[in-house]
Symmetry: C2
Subunit: 480 residues, 2 copies
């Protein structure tokens, strides 16, 4: 790399030296988000917001294919409404921000800034659902929610974060369970196909369940530092909320029944996952499917006659071919532009200079492998498109390899301790199902139960902690 | 119309009897929005949200074409930040909702739930802008804002509403003024091309200016009842905010300069405009360009063999042709479906029954003119697409005719009073520029100054109130 861009890369701490600092440096240097004057709240800058927009597009399309429609609920929840479901309010009350004044008047009832909107959707469904013909209700909203966290980190934990929250109501328990799993699979497919992030699909233990849910399902991803990140959750509420909010319908036999409900959410945390699964010491690495800019054209010796014209021509051609492409015509050295482009994670770079033009060629440089390929300009569109697909696949394969290399097996708690002493990653181990053993694992190893995976394996017959007969194989790990 | 759907339409009050009730009925029957358990806050239901989503898509594309990027600012504004620009805080403080508690702690500084985000963008620009190379900054966000209004109406005035707010920073006063007008024209073009709503473009008087702005520009539309609706505004702040927030940059001559700023917003109010400009006694009437469903296929005698199959085939064909189309295969009478489809404002209806299938034809019914056309199925896609374009044009023409018919001229305040006694609409009249005369017009006629239009005309030489030499021609009207 040229000297003039040394500064650019120097600013990023090596991930081997300090992973947390590396993360913060990448977020800041790539201008994904910035701290705001509101403690614990972040500003999503254009580069970060564009990633979130791409996530939204990819997920929203998939939601709609399953019949889900978007809507918008109020930002506020009256105190009395939040109180209606006991477990739910207990889970959220400690971290709620409260509006107590409107204009010059003190409010008669304080309003919660929504930490999540189950109660609002329930209130709405209680009004709208009367007959079996009104079911299912399949609604979603894209919004921000507020949780008054004590410690915060960009994207991973902040007092305000953006997400989507889907809320559905069904006639039967079977249907709500089916929808819960269906939406978890939508998340998993999206993560694997578009974000190139392999995930473990499974169920949360009772301890890790969402406040008010009968069952919580999760997708768990492994970051580059070997820590887990819960990347999306889907909850089956059974008829618990329906009983609390009195959401009833008349079935075909004219009998009154409670609905069964689900909710499912994926948040801006996922941007943290993209950074920590794919990034390297030169910065961000964005999977082509969701990269806001897939191709950056970097002219060489752009002051020379014809270079910028040719670059602009290529820009037009690649745009026309349906690629998201930009031209970096700033008055900077090529070396600076290359490093900048790498730091911002743009999957593919096209270098074009006077000699290339002479030879009717361009140099394509992949962000994932750094591989350089000289291509004839006649083949530019096809080669670039193919290469992007190959980068997408390769990024998934690399992440999968990392996941597999950092997934271990333990039969006893001593084994688990030993593994986590000098390695990081998931540990697969058997569990009897007792909360006490789950707590013991956490206390001794720092690892929490991430999920009971759908794909079960039998590692041994006994619980990792108590030695009693095992019920389930569990993924354990230290987590964000 | 058949008897079985009488109930459906009966529920909508005639607009001639009670326009306000007609409006509420349409909003409710078409399920655009619902009241929530939070006083003054609305729920945007799927049909209403889908319109807002279409508005967002149409505007966002236009914004991006002018170089604007999206971002997301925090929901909260610290009290001290809101206080920084004197005029601005005076304008908004009376209607701010305040967060005073977070979790179990009382906040040291209360936080405003954003009523608008000038102060947050200024705070951000103060950090990010250093050199002339950092300019212009062209940012926008799609979000909801909160203003503690006393009286509320669906879409037109509610305590929480959704909008976009663009905020830009420029090197010079010329550039910020240019951007202000540019964005106003984006709004106007969007309203006219996509919403089929003709608008008057102009400048607000000093009295009607945005809190903290040097100049406010507006687009004003005329509703069916002759009242005006401010449909989008664009503000030039000059360097007022820059001085309050100390946003300075080093120019090419290495001198420190203040930036010049703009902001511009369009909100869910526009859905109120769509309803009140185009709707009729049968319900909503959506312009094809932004109708979430452009074509509804209504099968006739759908229980007969082959009808639903054929309807599904047409659905597939029209989808493939790029139209937004749905099939109403509910077990309801055709009459009910027709009325339902009209009430929801769907621009075009395709009727297909056994006899149509036999004759290889379908019946197309336009929502705007009720005109029925029998078309060969071989021509279906082309005819439907052409008809939608024609409906779009015709709806604009009809709205324009209404606007022109309800725009009057007055030379004296008596004339204006007389006109507004039994007519409703805009009154064009001359004005000397004095606030006192503006106030007098409002007191005597109930009409406020809507704007000083860019397209000036000379109606006479003297001010409508004081008779002194006139400066400008002004559009006056009663407004929402």
């Amino acid at each position: 790399m040229a000297n003039d861009n040394k500064k650019l890369v120097e600013d990023i701490t090596s991930m081997d030296v300090d992973f947390a600092q590396w993360y913060t440096d990448v977020v800041k240097k790539a201008e994904l988000c910035d701290y705001s004057s509101v403690k614990g709240c972040m500003i999503m800058e254009p580069a970060g917001f564009a990633i979130w927009d791409a996530v939204r597009e990819g997920l929203d399309r998939r939601f709609k294919e399953t019949g889900v429609e978007n809507c918008a609920m109020p930002l506020f929840i009256p105190d009395s409404l939040l109180q209606k479901e006991k477990d739910h309010v207990e889970g959220f009350a400690p971290e709620v921000a409260w509006v107590t004044r409107g204009g010059s008047e003190k409010l008669q009832e304080k309003l919660a800034v929504r930490p999540t909107s189950e109660t609002l959707f329930c209130d709405y469904y209680a009004k709208k659902v009367h007959s079996y013909r009104d079911l299912p209700k399949l609604l979603n909203q894209w919004c921000s929610v507020v949780r008054w966290e004590k410690t915060t980190r960009p994207f991973l934990r902040s007092r305000e974060f953006w997400w989507q929250e889907g809320h559905t109501a069904h006639a039967t328990a079977e249907e709500s369970r089916e929808r819960t799993i269906q939406m978890l699979n939508v998340y998993a497919d999206f993560c694997e196909e578009d974000l190139a992030i392999p995930v473990i699909r499974g169920q949360k233990t009772e301890k890790e369940r969402f406040a008010g849910a009968e069952a919580t399902f999760t997708i768990e991803a492994l970051m580059h530092d070997g820590q887990a990140l819960q990347s999306g959750t889907s909850h089956d509420f059974g008829d618990g909320f329906a009983r609390a909010f009195n959401i009833q319908y008349t079935d075909k036999d004219n009998k009154l029944q409670y609905v069964h409900q689900t909710s499912w959410g994926l948040s801006t945390r996922i941007i943290g996952a993209i950074i920590m699964v794919h990034g390297d010491n030169d910065g961000l690495k964005l999977p082509p499917h969701i990269a806001p800019v897939q191709v950056m054209i970097c002219p060489i010796q752009q002051q020379k006659a014809g270079v910028l014209d040719k670059a602009a021509e290529l820009l037009g051609r690649l745009k026309k071919a349906g690629l998201r492409v930009r031209l970096d015509d700033r008055e900077k050295t090529p070396g600076f532009k290359f490093a900048d482009c790498e730091m911002r994670g743009i999957p593919l770079r096209v270098e074009i200079g006077p000699r290339d033009i002479e030879n009717n060629q361009a140099v394509l440089v992949r962000r994932d492998t750094r591989e350089k390929t000289v291509v004839s300009l006649d083949e530019l569109e096809k080669t670039a498109a193919d290469m992007l697909e190959d980068i997408q696949k390769n990024m998934f394969e690399m992440a999968k390899e990392h996941l597999e290399k950092h997934t271990f097996i333990a039969k006893t708690i001593d084994e688990m301790e030993e593994i986590l002493d000098d390695k990081t990653g998931f540990v697969k181990a058997m569990w009897c199902g007792d909360r006490a053993c789950e707590d013991a694992v956490k206390e001794k190893t720092g690892a929490t139960s991430r999920c009971i995976p759908f794909k079960q394996e039998c590692i041994c017959d006994t619980c990792i902690n108590c030695g009693k007969p095992a019920q389930k194989m569990v993924y354990w790990g230290r987590a964000y």
